[in-house]
Symmetry: C2
């Protein structure tokens, strides 16, 4: 399809358009107009149906502005980078790997590899033909300072919503009464300060994510409801280049997908994407290549959607192991662990480092209590070569001198053990899904100028168009009342009395409104209105006073309900 037509429609009808246009726009920043904001909210609602109501996961909401410590721990300060090259003539900046030709996965190249590749192909500035600088590594987080005075802290806008699920693990674990598995989700913004954003909604500097972090036992990566999706057929492209169309259960048995929990969320992702309007023929799951996968991930599958831009990643489903929790444990000293009770308690001997309170108190004053507690709860605490021990207290490192502790061997009953859970992460790009749904729903009819957006009813921004045949004879008053009744029942409508009925239908078809209700003279005589179906263009008459009650059934089951009622 011609994506320019879709972009023109998106702007004209208020789906989305470049933000800040009156100031010349800013690359990579878009605004959702009324139709787009509603479509986006509806897709997110459907996602919550699957993840919150369906799986019983907990949704949280954490700040976008975050202190540096979080991303030092997560690895983003060091690793969330791209290589940029700048034109020495026009100063425009480009992503170095985007200029490399004929190399598979150039994003995996380092500075030297990129430099050699660009030199080898004689790359010039794509805008003006000028010479390019050598590749420079740049961090892609938006940086800011927390606190407006000199007395401030470095902060970043989060590049993903996931970290709060990790650093607040203790709270989430308590919420689920300390039982694995459980999931915590977040729907919110992520930020990535792209060097040179292109491809519209697909590569924004500020975007919307729906992420779930599912905490599982490291040795039991099964899923209680796997049987429900076991027979779902998946189109899988494994990283040996082979394509399989295979039931989820067989993908696990054959070891194509590494474990059942991961396969469950791959299958759930497919169910969700089809539910919101992705064309099944333009959907596949591609396994990450070895040099593409984060070093800690043991397996990762991207849901890819075929668009006019090519195959585009819309969702990533990864087994992240214990990497994230481990990192935060190491950086904060917090005990982000789960507990499992042994079948029966063991008696064991172990070496402990015990606080000497009489020395700790005078030396550390107000902090002594926290230090003693940290010493007692820390596992595998090691004495440094200089005889001290180091502890993390409230995010800061504290060095404790030898006279403040003693090493002891103790015998104790051990009723269970603490361990670091593993994480399965389904991470959804909401803007990309929205754009994909729009491309896959876009239909041109006979005459090329007539466009119908065949959105699933559940995600359509407007559910009912409500029209008086003419804005006179009391038809308009009747239609307005009907419109108010529907809205009072929580149904989003659009009242329209301007132009011909055909033109009004066309306006609604273009934004994907599934049903249009028209009030005509027969309404005043017999009390019936017509309901017209977007896709079949069929019409039926129903009693106007039954409409508000009929609406939820129409929205749930489609036009056939009304036909049946006729």
């Amino acid at each position: 399809m011609d994506e320019d037509k879709l972009l023109a429609l998106a702007k004209r009808r208020g789906f989305f358009y470049p933000a800040f246009e009156i100031y010349g726009g800013v690359a990579g920043l878009y605004e959702y107009g009324p139709m787009g904001a509603a479509l986006k909210a509806n897709i997110a609602d459907r996602w919550r149906r699957f993840y919150v109501l369906g799986e019983g996961f907990a949704e949280i909401d954490s700040p976008n502005v975050s202190p540096e410590e979080v991303f030092a721990a997560s690895g983003h300060v060091k690793e969330f980078t791209d290589f940029s090259v700048e034109c020495t003539k026009c100063r425009e900046a480009f992503r170095a790997d985007h200029l490399v030709k004929d190399i598979e996965n150039p994003a995996a190249l380092g500075a030297d590899g990129l430099s050699a590749a660009l030199k080898g192909q004689g790359a010039k500035c794509p805008s003006c033909g000028g010479e390019l600088s050598v590749p420079q590594k740049v961090n892609l987080m938006f940086k800011t300072q927390i606190g407006p005075t000199a007395n401030s802290r470095v902060g970043y806008l989060r590049p993903e919503t996931a970290q709060a699920m990790f650093f607040s693990f203790v709270n989430h674990y308590r919420h689920f009464r300390e039982q694995l598995p459980f999931g915590v989700v977040q729907v919110g913004r992520g930020f990535r300060n792209e060097i040179s954003p292109r491809q519209g909604l697909l590569r924004q500097r500020e975007f919307n994510m729906m992420e779930a972090e599912v905490f599982v036992h490291p040795e039991r990566k099964t899923w209680p409801r796997f049987h429900e999706v076991a027979d779902d057929r998946l189109r899988l492209v494994s990283n040996d280049g082979k394509e399989h169309v295979i039931a989820a259960k067989d993908a696990v048995h054959k070891g194509i997908i590494k474990n059942e929990a991961l396969a469950y969320f791959v299958a759930l992702t497919q169910r969700f994407l089809l539910d919101v309007g992705i064309d099944p023929k333009r959907l596949r799951f591609r396994q990450h290549l070895t040099n593409e996968m984060a070093h800690y991930a043991s397996d990762c599958w991207d849901a890819e959607v075929e668009l006019s831009y090519g195959w585009v990643e819309a969702v990533g489903v990864a087994d992240r192991g214990s990497y994230d929790l481990d990192q935060h444990i190491r950086h904060s000293g917090a005990q982000l662990t789960a507990f499992e009770r042994f079948a029966e308690a063991n008696e064991v001997e172990r070496d402990v480092i015990a606080p000497v309170h009489a020395r700790l108190g005078p030396l550390f004053k107000g902090k002594a209590k926290a230090i003693a507690a940290a010493m007692e709860s820390a596992e595998g605490l090691a004495v440094e070569s200089d005889g001290t021990i180091k502890l993390a207290i409230d995010g800061a490192e504290v060095t404790v001198p030898p006279e403040c502790f003693e090493r002891k061997r103790v015998r104790e009953k051990v009723s269970g053990r603490r361990f670091v859970p593993h994480v399965i992460e389904p991470s959804y790009g909401l803007d990309r899904i929205l754009y994909s749904v729009m491309e896959h729903s876009y239909h041109e009819e006979e005459k090329e100028e007539y466009t119908v957006m065949r959105l699933p009813i559940s995600v359509a921004p407007i559910k009912f168009g409500v029209f008086p045949l003419m804005a006179k004879d009391g038809l308009d008053g009747f239609a307005m009342k009907l419109d108010a009744e529907l809205r009072d029942a929580g149904v989003v409508t659009s009242y329209d009395d301007s132009g011909s009925i055909g033109r009004r239908y066309a306006r609604m078809d273009e934004v994907g409104t599934p049903f249009c209700v028209t009030v005509d003279h027969e309404t005043l005589e017999k009390g019936t209105v017509t309901i017209r179906d977007r896709d079949s263009k069929a019409q039926v008459r129903v009693p106007a006073k039954e409409l508000a009650a009929l609406a939820p059934r129409l929205l749930r089951h489609g036009f056939s309900v009304a036909k049946g009622g006729k």
Copy 2:
């Protein structure tokens, strides 16, 4: 009430807690846990019921990261400031006006006034008693750079959601088919880099707002549906210090509230706040003092809620005149205006500045067309003293020399005029409302340790607790099935089979769950379950198989529906 108890509950039960606690926390940043995120989403949904479904306003969604030009125009770069003083000894920073005693509205003081007041009262550092620096003006926007390379642009995190309703006015006006009045709303984040945030959720550095910008004709500040709220009684504290308890219509007639449109949104604000659980006895509307009101606002009323912290502003309803659109017109050159057709066309003579295309083209090349268009559409364009004219093109100023234009007197038919609409702005602090709802819903019963959160059903995070009397004899399986049925119908539930029934009721009461359903042995025999009401503690038995159908009615009309059914 004791707010520490509420804060402890908020943390323990996952409403909200300081964010980034494992790294020592960051003042002014909070995280919503599962209960808080749900409560917040439910309050926002109710707001949309009033503003989007009720008023038919359009909801948009614009980026948090914004280029500097937006806030240069809005005035925030210059005016969004506080004065800070720093302790010369411990380096802690404070808001200067917060340290001033015995002066009404110290926020209105300038640097000299603050300096004198602090000196006069001999103010010292509240933390360590050290000497304070002189007051320094600091800007409260979070600053960042857009683009990670040297080739970047200054950006800020938006301090309010409102600006997108102004700078994208042309899109919104088109969406409403160029008819006033209309409203555009946004629910999203705002950021304010506070010097020294305190008071928990009430003064955060990142917060949630629900804002409506209502565009009206400057000479017709009426509201079509005012009659619906005309008799609503409002508690108004006008800026002469008088308190009135008065019907909305009388407040307008007596000139207490300046116009009908403003009064409508004051009344709508009251309806909304009562709907989500604000205690009517602890709600009032206070008119801004003259030295407190923004210089462009002609009238402004704050909805204030009485909390343990005192009276706190939760909503501001202001008549902002044409200030915001004017500013963006001046800074961008965009025509952010509405059009009104005259009853009949006039013939007029006027002086125009007409482009000389033959000169413009060679001089301005690709930009010539835009310059010619801007010249033709600009109104009141003035020739500078040096004979040139200045135009804003894509946010940049362009100087056009005299040979490129000519002054002409033309006769033309004028069928109408363009004008800059005025704006009524109801701006809601979502976090403050959430906190207020929690304080006003908080009830301790007989024994002090028993807490019930009497949240309105519509905003309660969980709607049904579902319990088997015991987790055996098949009661648990039955209850789980019931739970799944409710969730499938879109109802948020919490299944719980641990501990005594009393303890499970207590857990649900503490988070405000309105209904608890218990499956017991009679369920297996007769097919009925008990429904227990949170506030009255009354119980009725209903057939289990009717529960999913009964649930929406219970949620809409309350427990009496179930009692009636018995």
